[in-house]
């Protein structure tokens, strides 16, 4: 059976991206939602007028959710899940995600620390052969993660962004930009963490 994936409206898309990303500026939210920056900004202002988002200035500032915004997101994202008839599919994808998650964490650890003489030492990235073995691991994991994200995108269109962002991070890491493994704000690890947060928020599961 094929059906059209359920599209999310722009305002919920931005609201929910803030929920999964945490405090962020329009550029990062544009990356997370796939909406153009000015559209994101316009939605953010509407949401702020409704009391759902708030802006804090300063170096570490940015847009964030208010308590009311968090509650509104939880309620609306859950309603969307049922409207899309996607609860079963997302629950199954989350269970599969939990199996892949330890692998991702192993690989991130291997990127940061490497075995030497029976102990782990910080990986100084001077051994291309080792780093490429770790990246091979990421490529292998990504093949399975992409299938999972494709299943999710088939019911809820907004999950398509994770396919694009994870593939993008991996491609950049593979072409020498090592910070796209764990360090950059659009790194594989950070996008993966947001996917984890998204699945929990969508299904209404508290962390721990």
């Amino acid at each position: 059976m094929t059906r059209t994936p359920y599209p999310t409206g722009d305002d919920l898309l931005v609201l929910h991206a803030l929920r999964c990303v945490g405090s962020a500026g329009p550029a990062r939210l544009s990356e997370a939602t796939g909406l153009p920056g000015p559209d994101v900004e316009s939605v953010l202002i509407d949401l702020a007028v409704a009391g759902l988002t708030t802006y804090s200035p300063g170096d570490f500032g940015g847009w964030g959710l208010t308590e009311a915004g968090r509650a509104a997101d939880a309620e609306r994202i859950s309603r969307e899940l049922d409207a899309a008839g996607a609860r079963t599919a997302v629950t199954e994808a989350y269970e599969d995600f939990l199996v892949l998650n330890p692998e991702l964490l192993d690989l991130c650890t291997a990127w940061q620390l490497r075995p030497a003489g029976g102990v782990l030492v910080p990986n100084d990235h001077t051994d291309p052969a080792y780093d490429s073995r770790v990246l091979d691991g990421f490529t292998d994991l990504h093949r399975r993660a992409d299938v999972l994200c494709a299943d999710l995108s088939a019911v809820l269109l907004r999950f398509r962004r994770y396919r694009v962002r994870l593939a993008g991070a991996l491609a950049r890491a593979g072409s020498g930009a090592g910070e796209y493994v764990t360090d950059d704000m659009e790194s594989y690890h950070i996008v993966w963490f947001q996917l984890h947060e998204d699945l929990l928020a969508t299904l209404g599961i508290p962390r721990h």
């Binding site: 091979d136 764990t182 963490f193």
Partner: protein
């Protein structure tokens, strides 16, 4: 027919760690030393290789398993799967090279519903029997049905919500939920027949050799893919049986300082995995001397014998059931740099090793570790909490309360990860952190082991701290410390301090002075060089003479 696949856990078994795995071989060594080991047998790595090649258990293994189980029934005077006094077994993985946390282990295999009823009748403790049955099913859910721990926890928590109080109704509900989960996720339910359960468990352990995680681990650690794992099957001993039962991990010497006193964790009334999880407040093992003097005496004697055998500091995992001691694993080594120096010198003084071997036992890396700084203990200091020093050294950084938070914050400077306890799922956060603090757990907890492996200053069991990850803060006394606050961890003194106190470099200990003196005698050099240079020169002379490096010994990780 001669045995080909299975080897008894007995003093006469001659196979090495390549066949029995490091764990199985260590248990055979313990038997040779006359120490108490639960009866059992090892399915050798050859059976795993055959299983991986053919996709099924090899011909003849079924018959050997049946015979080995009959021997186990005779040795324990119990029946596998009941009725009457039921026999349940542990089924543990263990290859010749350690791959911690990568492969499956199942407990209470053979504890069918009928056997659990038998266990309840035998012990007169229905709650204990239900708990044992739940642990058994949880093992199958995880190893056979591939259920993630988070999901298993959620299902058990939900059942607890329906029948709160942790009593028999709660356990019975949790058992039904886990059974339903297994039916939904696996091809069928857990068999009601003990022998089929055992075959399923052995197959699950063999299969776990080839999971993507295990393959990646081997790729990164340069371990060949064709070694396979052995499977150790032993009669269960229950640390959660009654108030005269418990479990623990004990080092023959303090793994942080090297001092010659038994050191570690004991948990009364609990099973082995509870010690390592760090979720429970453990007690120092010497507390056994008052509560279970026979267990304590047996343990001290065992530590003495294993040290004599391995000629090194060792750690031992143990369980005691109704006042009777059982050893479950032995491993030499596992010391921090400072401890490695002291133990090498002490062992030479005790005549267990020669001075040359002492020099070969300490690596230049350990020597660097041994010169760890400490916080100044005089003057004004803002002490937040005390715990156990799990890995020496001082680290200052900003507080993070989740592993993911630590990774994100690490981009902006050093981070101190503060958690109730840690698990393998927190490895990325531990790796990103300059120092580690946990509020629960002892020196053998996951956080402590990882911290030592990575040389990160760590304090565990800082019980006055409450971590509120949801609110993003740590509470201690009446104070709230938000994420991002600057704190300092002193892993030698076991202290967590506010801000950035002054740091002093540790004075050179007499043990290090003596070791380096021996090094100069070997190399012919003088003491006017750096420590590392002095040690490395002596080691070069010794290794050129063909002195065996100490790393090739059995069971070394």
């Amino acid at each position: 027919m001669p045995t080909t696949w299975i080897h008894p856990l007995s003093a006469e078994t001659e196979e090495g760690a390549d066949v029995l795995g490091g764990k199985g071989h260590g248990l055979v060594v313990l038997r040779r030393l006359g120490l108490p080991v639960p009866p059992g047998f090892v399915i050798g790595t050859g059976a795993c290789r055959a299983f991986l090649r053919d996709g099924r258990l090899p011909d003849g293994l079924g018959a050997e398993l049946a015979a080995a189980v009959r021997d186990l029934e005779a040795a324990t005077r119990r029946r596998f799967g009941g009725p009457g006094r039921p026999l349940a077994v542990s089924v543990r993985s263990g290859g010749s090279v350690s791959m911690p946390g990568m492969m499956n282990t199942l407990l209470n295999v053979g504890l069918t519903a009928e056997a659990a009823a038998g266990l309840a009748a035998e012990t007169g403790d229905a709650r204990f029997a239900l708990d044992a049955r739940l642990r058994s099913l949880s093992g199958f859910a995880s190893a056979v049905a591939g259920v993630a721990p988070e999901q298993l926890d959620a299902v058990v928590r939900e059942a607890a919500g329906r029948a709160p109080g942790g009593g028999r109704r709660h356990l019975a509900g949790a058992i039904r939920s886990v059974e339903a989960l297994i039916r939904a996720r696996a091809a069928g339910p857990v068999p009601g027949d003990a022998t089929r359960q055992l075959e399923l468990a052995v197959g699950a352990v063999f299969s776990s050799w080839d999971t993507p995680r295990a393959r990646t681990y081997r790729e990164l650690h340069g371990i060949p893919h064709d070694l396979g794992t052995a499977v150790t099957v032993q009669a269960m001993v229950f640390g959660n049986r009654d108030e005269r039962s418990g479990t623990g991990v004990v080092f023959s010497r303090d793994p942080t300082t090297g001092e010659n006193v038994p050191f570690g964790d004991v948990l009364f009334g609990r099973q082995g995995e509870d010690v390592v999880s760090g979720r429970w407040a453990t007690r120092p093992p010497a507390e056994l001397a008052g509560r279970e003097p026979a267990v304590w005496a047996g343990l001290v004697e065992a530590l003495d014998r294993v040290e004599g055998h391995y000629r090194d500091a060792c750690q031992v995992e143990f369980t005691f059931e109704a006042g009777e001691l059982w050893l479950l694993q032995v491993r030499p080594g596992g010391l921090s740099g400072r401890a490695a120096v002291r133990v090498a010198v002490d062992l030479a003084d005790e005549g267990l090793i020669g001075r040359r071997e002492a020099l070969l036992r300490v690596s230049p890396r350990q020597l660097r570790q041994a010169r760890t700084p400490r916080t100044e203990t005089t003057g004004t200091r803002d002490l937040l909490a005390r715990g156990l020093g799990a890995c020496p050294g001082v680290a200052t950084g900003r507080v993070a309360t989740t592993a993911d938070g630590a990774v994100r914050m690490a981009a902006g400077g050093p981070v101190i990860l503060v958690r109730p306890h840690t698990s393998p799922l927190d490895m990325h956060g531990l790796a990103a952190s300059a120092g580690i603090v946990t509020s629960c757990g002892g020196p053998a907890s996951h956080a402590a082991v990882v911290a030592r492996a990575m040389g990160r200053p760590a304090v565990v069991g800082a019980a006055d701290l409450t971590v509120d990850a949801a609110a993003g803060c740590v509470r201690v006394g009446g104070r709230t410390i938000p994420e991002g606050t600057l704190v300092t961890v002193d892993g030698t003194g076991g202290e967590v301090l506010a801000g950035r106190p002054r740091i002093v470099t540790a004075p050179v200990g007499p043990h290090l002075d003596r070791l380096l003196g021996w090094a100069d005698e070997i190399s012919g050099g003088g003491p006017d060089r750096g420590d590392e240079e002095r040690l490395t020169a002596a080691r070069a002379v010794l290794l050129n003479r063909g002195g065996a490096p100490p790393d090739g010994r059995d069971g070394h990780r």
